[in-house]
């Protein structure tokens, strides 16, 4: 019988993975604006702003990311930036998601059947 120790690490949803990767890419500068911009710049997807915040909050509630508050800035109307970074659990899940995708993609070619042999 399987126990919890041997159970596979849960994976992340697509949007969750995008946000986690964007946080990793932004490093110390990961907050709402830069995360949204990073995803847009790299994938070309214009995500709904609220979707990013909701995802960030959900990851935060599940202990996959942590947040810290910066210094209040005048151009933000006196509001502070909320910076995000990844918790080890979040990294494990991102890793598990990548492994799951890689494993599933292994040996699959999406080249059309009538394509030249070298492309199959």
């Amino acid at each position: 019988m399987k126990t919890d120790d041997t159970a596979p690490t849960p994976t992340l949803g697509e949007l969750e993975l995008l946000v986690v990767l964007a946080i990793l890419r932004c490093g110390d500068e990961a907050y709402g604006v830069t995360i949204t911009e990073e995803i847009r710049r790299r994938t070309g997807r214009r995500l709904a702003r609220a979707a990013v915040y909701v995802t960030l909050r959900r990851l935060h509630e599940r202990g996959l990311v942590r947040s810290t508050t910066g210094t209040p800035l005048p151009e933000r109307g006196g509001k502070a930036r909320r910076y995000y970074s990844i918790e080890p659990e979040g990294l494990d899940r991102a890793q598990a998601t990548q492994t799951a995708f890689t494993t599933m993609w292994d040996g699959i070619s999406l080249a059309p059947a009538d394509a030249p042999e070298e492309h199959r």
């Binding site: 604006v33 609220a50 959900r58 800035l73 151009e75 930036r81």
Partner: protein
């Protein structure tokens, strides 16, 4: 400016922390944008961004949004909206339309219970907490003076009242009044007995009532030797004097004397509580009747409160040494006026007890409705599963359930309020002149608050429990596995016990109601062996004359005057009419062992003769038997002779009242005659043995007279003779012997109807609860039934098993109920009339009805379960 407004939208839809984060980010981007683009473009961008975010966040906070988003943490208190949203109420309206029978049952059960609770509370509130509807009504106080030994209210001693009036500084005005009764004798109509009040002129003036015509009393009206004056209320003035303004200054005949009418007061004025005729009374001094102790009230001075009034009046009440020698000083309690005149603390405790019982009845009704709601909630568990999967928390679901039932509760509250208002209207029409002027059905803030409390109270009981149970466990599982995953606990023991208790209650109440009903029928059908339609009866009362504290007896010479009238054959007097209940007392019969208990009636002059009843043996009373120094004699009835004297001749035997151990024995009385049974215990003809004692010298009698010709003529002749004999005698309840005993019948039928109504309600609730339990368990076991039928079980067998378990509950309920009914029938002994013992037939009829209703409630859902197609049951569930 526009930017700030736009950003403000976020703080409305999003939790505070999130709103701050998004707003900061948007402001930062906006300031960057403004550096490269125009302000207009930047603002349009901001508008799009804010609206987009607001819509997404607003949606994510609805119960339909995905679960696990940030809606779960509690919102800051300042933004928390009502626990029940308009959406919930919309669902509720839709549900009522979809399930009209269930909704009507719930509203009906809650509405009837609420009606009773609202009526009880309004009585409590308007009886004890209402202000007097007069100027400065809230400042009126009543001085409750009690004897410290007997705790009886004794009124204020004249010297104390004088000190209060002369020396009190905390009371702006002090008034005093005494109740009385007298015959009002209008010129061209029959005299009417009315309750009047003697009131001090200053007390009357303090009420600031404006006379319709004339004036109020003045101090000179109350001095000895002043012209006797009277004030009438508008309704009496119109009814008996045609509202004639010329009557002002004219004499009005009252209790045999003439009084000058000096003023007419408005019809809504009924001071001190429910009176409509006033006479002046002196405050103190020579105009006060010796020994009279009036009741006192006062209006507090502007700067005084009740504690100060109490403290001051207590000091002023300190008796002198002479007064102290006369006995211990009386106790004083200053209370709000309305409370003082409606029974004070005892009445408050009693009525609060009644309201508590009515609230418990409502709680029982709500618990039954909860069973119905649980059935509905379980049937909708798939829907809850979907909502939960879309992000609704358990709290959301419970709030939605609460909102749905709240609408039912609100409808029931409206129904209950309407019902209570109707009961009040009926009460006013029946006992208008008996109800104090401040008792009325008004939805003031206190009553309104109570009605709202009832709606929320019953809704909470009826909804939260079922919803907690219906949303217990994994709602996802309910979607995957079907509704059996939800609420697998089913109905708890508490529900089943409640049903049993209700069944017991309904058996007890209905059995007792049947019992009283039989008593009522017995009372109406009693045969006295004479033509009851040819016997005129009337109640005669001679109130004490003004200035005399001891009443004088009614002059029996009026009997001879009555018999001199052509249409009255014989006239006599008695204390209790045939068919009226008489007291049973313990007796000893000379020469026989033991104590016998029998009914005792007091018979006045010529009672038996007036009914033209001859003695079966010996004789009836003669005039000399009623004299004070006569030899003590009794007349027994036939049942007494048979039951207690055997075959021996009763005439000449002796009996006496049993005395307390150690006390002086009472005198022996000789039996001088035997008469036939005359309804000494009309409700239980089998136990009507009793005896008659001669009585004389009373100021109260029941007149009995056999008459010829039309009743109205005889009644008119009787009134004329009584009036001519002594116009102060108050004549009431003029009717034939057949109609007499109305009060007893009314009491009996009102008690029987009340118990029947409660019993039927308890039965309806228990049947509803039983139906809910059966429907629920059938719903829960549909899959099981399917499997059993698939395995070869007979559907009929399943139905039988389900019904059998209900039978067990019914039987235990009936058993408990019979026990309670026996106890209740014992309690019926406190009624002023006898009721027959509880018969097994009554119990059997009630139990049978109840069993039939209960089995039907169980059989219908069980039959449905038995018909289920196994394949469908397995596939669907």
């Amino acid at each position: 400016m526009i930017d700030r407004l736009l950003l403000r939208v976020l703080s409305i839809v999003a939790p505070e922390e999130l709103a701050d984060e998004i707003e900061g980010d948007l402001r930062e981007q906006l300031s960057q944008l403004k550096r490269s683009r125009s302000s207009v473009v930047a603002t349009i961008w901001l508008a799009r961004a804010v609206i987009g975010a607001a819509l997404s966040i607003g949606w994510s906070r609805t119960p339909f949004a995905r679960r696990g988003s940030f809606i779960s943490p509690p919102l800051p208190a300042r933004r928390r909206s009502l626990p029940v949203t308009l959406n919930d109420l919309r669902f509720a309206v839709r549900l009522i339309a979809k399930q009209p029978v269930l909704s009507a049952t719930a509203v009906g059960a809650l509405g009837v219970s609420m009606c009773l609770a609202i009526f009880g509370f309004t009585m409590l509130s308007s009886t004890l907490w209402a202000e007097l509807p007069l100027p400065q009504g809230e400042r009126y106080v009543y001085m409750e003076v009690t004897d410290p030994e007997t705790l009886d209210e004794v009124g204020v001693a004249p010297e104390v009242l004088e000190r209060w009036i002369n020396e009190s500084s905390t009371l702006a005005t002090i008034g005093a009044f005494e109740w009385g009764q007298a015959n009002l004798e209008p010129v061209d109509t029959e005299p009417v007995g009315i309750r009047l009040v003697h009131i001090t002129p200053r007390g009357m003036a303090a009420t600031q009532v404006e006379p319709v015509v004339g004036r109020l009393f003045e101090p000179r009206d109350a001095v000895p030797g002043a012209e006797p004056v009277v004030l009438l209320r508008e309704d009496l003035w119109e009814q008996h004097y045609r509202g004639d303004p010329d009557m002002l200054g004219a004499p009005i005949r009252l209790g045999g004397s003439d009084y000058t009418l000096v003023g007419v007061l408005p019809r809504e004025f009924a001071f001190p509580s429910s009176h409509n005729l006033w006479l002046p009374r002196a405050e103190h001094g020579p105009g006060v009747v010796d020994g009279s102790r009036p009741e006192a009230f006062g209006i507090m001075a502007d700067d005084a409160d009740m504690a100060e009034v109490q403290a001051e009046l207590e000091v002023l009440m300190q008796p002198s040494d002479d007064e102290l020698r006369a006995g211990p000083p009386n106790a004083l309690r200053v209370v709000p006026y309305t409370r003082g005149l409606t029974g004070g603390r005892a009445a408050e405790t009693f009525m609060a007890g009644v309201v508590t019982v009515l609230l418990l009845i409502l709680a029982v009704a709500a618990a039954n409705v909860a069973n119905l709601i649980l059935v509905r909630a379980v049937a909708r568990s798939d829907e809850y599963g979907i909502r939960a999967a879309l992000g609704a928390s358990r709290t959301n679901l419970i709030a939605q359930g609460f909102g749905e039932v709240l609408l039912l509760g609100a409808l029931a509250a409206i129904l209950g309020t309407g019902g209570a208002s109707l009961i009040f209207r009926w009460l006013r029409s029946v006992v208008d002149n008996e109800l104090p002027m401040w008792i009325d059905f008004r939805i003031d803030p206190v009553v309104g608050g109570f009605i709202a409390f009832l709606a929320v109270f019953s809704t909470s009981i009826a909804s939260i429990g079922p919803m907690l149970r219906a949303t217990r466990g994994s709602l996802d599982a309910s979607l995957r596995q079907g509704s059996t995953a939800v609420a697998s606990g089913g109905f708890g023991r508490a529900s089943a016990s409640m049903i049993v208790a209700e069944l017991a209650l309904s058996v007890a109440l209905l059995s007792t109601a049947t019992l009283l009903g039989r008593g009522l029928v017995g009372l109406q059908q009693v045969d006295l062996g004479l033509d009851q339609t040819r016997v005129l009866t009337a109640s005669l009362y001679l109130p004490p004359a003004p200035g005399v504290s001891e009443p004088s007896p009614i002059d029996t010479g009026l009997l001879a005057d009555l018999e001199s009238r052509v249409n009255i054959r014989k006239a006599g007097l008695t204390m209790r009419l045939p068919k009226e209940e008489t007291r049973a007392r313990d007796l000893e019969v000379d020469g026989r062992e033991g104590i016998v208990r029998s009914h005792v009636a007091h018979s006045g002059l010529y009672f038996f003769d007036s009914l033209e009843i001859a003695a079966l043996r010996g004789r009836t009373f003669t005039a000399s038997d009623h004299e004070t120094d006569a030899v003590p004699v009794v007349v027994v009835n036939e049942s007494f002779a048979t039951a207690h004297l055997g075959t021996s001749n009763p005439v000449g035997q002796r009996l006496r009242f049993a005395s307390e151990p150690g006390a002086e024995p009472t005198a022996w009385r000789e039996i001088v005659g035997v008469v036939r049974d005359l309804g000494l215990n009309a409700a239980v003809p089998g136990e009507s043995d009793g005896l008659y004692l001669p009585v004389a010298g009373s100021n109260f009698y029941q007149l009995t007279a056999t008459f010829e010709g039309p009743f109205a003529d005889a009644a008119r002749a009787m009134r004329a003779v009584v009036g001519a004999n002594d116009s102060r005698i108050i004549v009431r309840e003029v009717q034939t012997l057949e109609q007499s005993g109305w009060a007893a019948r009314t009491l009996l039928s009102a008690t029987a109807s009340g118990l029947s109504a409660l019993g039927v309600m308890a039965l309806a609730l228990s049947v509803t609860g039983m139906y809910a339990i059966m429907a629920f368990s059938v719903q829960q076991r549909t899959r099981e039934f399917g499997v059993r039928v698939a395995l070869g079980a007979e559907p009929g067998d399943l139905v039988r098993r389900a019904v059998l378990s209900t039978c067990v509950r019914l039987a235990s309920g009936a058993g408990l109920g019979v026990t309670r009914a026996l106890l209740l029938s014992q309690a019926a002994a406190v009624l002023p009339i006898a009721v027959p013992a509880l018969s097994m037939f009554d119990v059997a009829v009630v139990c049978g009805t109840m069993m039939l209703a209960g089995l039907l409630a169980a059989w219908l859902p069980a039959r449905q379960a038995g018909r289920v197609n196994p394949a469908d049951a397995l596939r669907a569930d």
